[in-house]
Amino acid sequence: MTQVVRLLDAAFGRAAPESGPGGRAHLIAGSLLGALALAALWGLAAGSATLGQSLASGFKAPMVLLLSALSALPAGVLAVKLTGAQLRARDMVASFASALMGGGLVLGALAPIVAIYFHTSARYGIELGIGSVFAALAIGGLVLVRNLRVRLGPTGSQVAAWVPAALLFGLFAVALVQFVALASPILGGPTAFDAGIDRLW
């Protein structure tokens, strides 16, 4: 139970106090698994037009999340080093994992609304599904910055938290667009994101 509280604290932008390597690894792995589970829940709701689509989306949504995160992470860690921030790579990884958990909590919380709208509104079902993803991205970005600022401490440069966070967030979003296109359909209908960046831009 204490571990769950730690995970949630970190996901709400209150970074956990420094613990040993085992505790940190537990926090990172738990946050990632929690985010994947919540994304799967959202996928089940977002694709609930048919049973097959729902199960497929329940697999695709966490897949897209994890692969996008892993694609963006190396550049984010490199940015930490290049900006000279007083952060360690593991601080960035832990903050990013907590941010994914924060975004996953938004997806999980909105999953019932997405499902009910998808089944009862012809006009707003898809839009609400997309909107929930943007809300999760916004909250995840906020959590990332808050966690990095906490880990920097009062003496660290705040710019040093913003630059890697912005780069990591931007690259995560860019990767997400293409993985979503590759895995589409995830929502139960066509969206502007189905063809990737080529048609979006």
Binding site: G20, G23, A25, H26, A29, P62, L67, L70, L182, G196
Partner: protein, 74 residues
């Protein structure tokens, strides 16, 4: 005006293309490969989580023993 046989036939539809102008088969193969990678990553993540949980428990016990022994938090 009589058209040739070829001109009267409707033009053949272009083959459907996947993302980036590659074929649909390429897109499906890429998705399948990524799905396998994802499944492997999740399995590794679960194993890592279990190992980290044990390590975290040991660290917590060490910390508590240290507190009792020294009479103050580390």
């Amino acid at each position: 005006m009589m058209g040739t046989r070829e001109s009267l036939e409707p033009p053949a539809a272009p083959p459907p293309t996947g993302l980036g102008g590659h074929g649909i088969a390429h897109q499906h193969a890429l998705f399948a490969a990524l799905a396998i990678v994802f499944a492997a990553l999740v399995a590794a993540l679960v194993l890592w989580f279990r190992r980290a949980a044990r390590a975290s428990e040991i660290e917590e016990i060490d910390r508590l023993i240290g507190e009792d022994w020294r009479g103050e938090p580390e």
